[in-house]
Amino acid sequence: MTTPDAPALACPVPLPPGESVLLGHGSGGKLTADLIRSVFVPAFGDGELARLGDAAVVEVEGVRLAFTTDGFVVTPRFFPGSDIGALSVNGTVNDLAMMGATPLFLSAGLILEEGLPMEDLRRVVASMAEACRKAGVRLVTGDTKVVERGGADGLYVTTAGLGVVPDGVDVGPERAQPGDAVLVSGPIGSHGVAVMSRRAGIEFDGALHSDTAPLTGLAHAMITAGDLHTMRDATRGGVASVLNEIAEASGVGITTDESAFPILDPVRAACEMLGLDPLYVANEGVCVAVVAGADAGAVLAAARADPMGSAAAMVGTVEEGRGVRVRTDLGGSRPLVMLAGDQLPRIC
């Protein structure tokens, strides 16, 4: 078949994202990455920003500070196993922990919609306080704004966090190298499926719970146990997106085994029913870690000894090359690409 010139491709249906922000720009997939690269990074031209880690690491008078911020807009605000309050604390704490930092201080900005039941607000704030206590961080400053009814969906929370990276710890998205082992710290997909099931009004015998939790202790245990190169909190876009980000930032390839990923049965069942791939479903208490091959066993053992990592598993290896591949149980393989936007439930 001859290849026509590009202008001859006068197909009536090419629909690039265009000049409006779409929901897919917030999915954590390729559209999000494109937005960050084309709008945010060039505007500020900052090397640490361009590193695109879970948190920035900046040095002030000999002290390495980890600094991060995150916005939380989840619907519904209360879901099986947790709520937007605990999520907003754990999300930021985990971003700090992924750089090997000890999280210390948080700020919170709340945007409230006129008419939000005070009871809901109290419940969210109590949940935030409890999460801070569990994670061992202090929430030391905050801000509140109220918008007119219809201007927000109940409440949005933005948190920022500050932590200190101990001497000798060097964890970063660009440090994965051939020969490293890839670990995940726990069963994947639980948070995303729990939220989705509540949003869709789908009940799965109450067996689905969000996994939101602080990963500080687990991260510390793993870093102490061996030469840990990279850690990422596998939130939006799931494990698949994070693996792609690591492969790209480090300029390496990653091969994984589909059957090696720990997944709870109810999560698998829900994904089968909804036509979703659990590798792309969001987590809130699961990290991906890349470890020097020789230390993989020791780090895995340390992870499993921590209550947050009891189901940790080795899922793949880092190789020369680029991109992420997954081997199927039947012996085939396919690349694990970055999705454009959110996964869409299939028709049949």
Partner: protein, 367 residues
């Protein structure tokens, strides 16, 4: 996980693959009709494991792919009306119309909601009595009964603001169109297991007789597909052309009588244009006279300009099994899941998207 892992056992799979290798003596071209089957074949890499004599080509059984441009444009124009709420299954939202998709209609202020069942859309209609709720009824015989049931309930309960934008299509007329087309390469079919769960397989018996093609009703798990392919290859090698049923745990010859009754009460066959295939007589469904009041096309009769499909996008050839996705010059370059040129690149069930996500590139396949 029970009822899933049994059908993905790699030892059994290797055994069936060996059986297929032993059975096959010359090249055969088999079409799996349903997009769900394509998805499994490609996702699990089954097509790479088959002997080279067995070529799988991908059929038109992806509702997202075959829904005509004009109906998508109509959905987009309805979605933008302030007096309407458009409810749809998720993967229709990214299907490009002639200038916009439903995600863009939503970004422009349209009320577009993803639902998991037409009965959810009926609930939306009850909760919003002052607006017309339009459920985008796409799909094959599989999704027709639930959609029929939703309209039937709406009528019984007097929910007058619940309507369907009907884009239903039927499998047997499309198979006939593929077999009758000049240049047809398809020598046997894996018939879609879920469609047959509803309809049974009596409709397929005349097709095997007229065209002397084997048809095996097949499921969607890896072992289902391998077994279906093996049964098909054996028929081809033995010169038989019969309807056989691999998907015995779900399908009986007569189908699901209750489901067929409600479909026959609410819908009637009509001519329908298929995206990529063109018009096929009696290949679609529309609401019967008794339910016409719930027809969104009559409720919102705005004229939608007919826009011709691209002459470059080879979706039509792909959907007829006459070309592979990577034969298209735009595949993976100008046409990707983020920026689809044609519908088969949109849904993960679409042959082009399945190929793309599985990393099938022209250089990889032609080697």
């Amino acid at each position: 996980m029970r009822y899933v892992d049994e059908y993905r056992d790699s030892h059994i799979a290797k055994g069936i693959l060996a059986d297929i290798r032993r059975s096959v003596t010359r090249p055969w071209t088999i079409m799996e009709v349903c997009g769900g089957q394509t998805h499994t074949l490609i996702r699990q890499g089954i097509d790479q494991l088959l002997p080279p004599e067995v070529e799988m080509v991908h059929g038109p059984g992806c509702p997202v792919c075959v829904t005509p441009l004009s109906i998508i444009d109509r959905a987009v124009s309805i979605a933008k009306r302030p007096d309407a709420i458009l409810c749809s299954f998720g993967d229709m939202l990214r299907v490009p119309g002639s200038s916009e998709d439903l995600f863009m209609a939503r970004a422009a202020g349209g009320d577009v909601r993803v639902v998991y069942s037409p009965l959810d859309a009926l609930e939306v209609a009850r909760a919003n009595p002052d607006r017309t709720v339009v459920f985008f009824a796409v799909g094959f015989e599989t999704t027709a009964p639930a959609n029929a049931m939703a309209v039937r309930q709406a009528k019984l309960q007097g929910v007058e603001n619940f309507t369907l934008l009907v884009a239903h299509v039927l499998v047997p007329p499309a198979m006939l169109a593929i077999l009758a087309a000049p240049g047809n390469r398809v020598q046997a079919f894996l018939a879609p297991g879920h469609v047959c769960t509803i309809m049974g397989w009596t409709e397929y018996e005349p097709i095997t007789e007229s065209f002397h093609v084997p048809i095996v009703v097949t499921g969607f798990e890896p072992l289902d597909l391998l077994e279906g392919i093996h049964m098909t290859v054996r028929q081809l090698e033995e010169g038989r052309a019969e309807v056989e049923n691999q998907y015995v745990r779900s399908v009986v010859r007569e189908g699901n009588a209750a489901a067929m009754r409600v479909v026959a009460e609410v819908f009637e066959p009509c001519d329908r244009a298929w995206r990529g295939l063109g018009p096929i007589p009696n290949s679609g469904l529309r609401l019967t006279e008794a339910y016409r009041a719930h027809d969104a096309e009559l409720r919102f009769p705005e004229v939608v300009a007919e826009v011709p499909e691209s002459e470059v996008c080879i979706a039509g050839m792909v959907l007829q099994g006459r070309a592979k996705p990577h034969d298209c010059p735009a595949f993976g370059t100008e046409c990707t899941p983020e920026r689809p040129l044609g519908a088969p690149m949109v849904s993960t069930e679409g042959a082009c998207a399945a190929y793309f996500l599985a990393g099938r590139r022209r250089e990889a396949v032609s080697s």
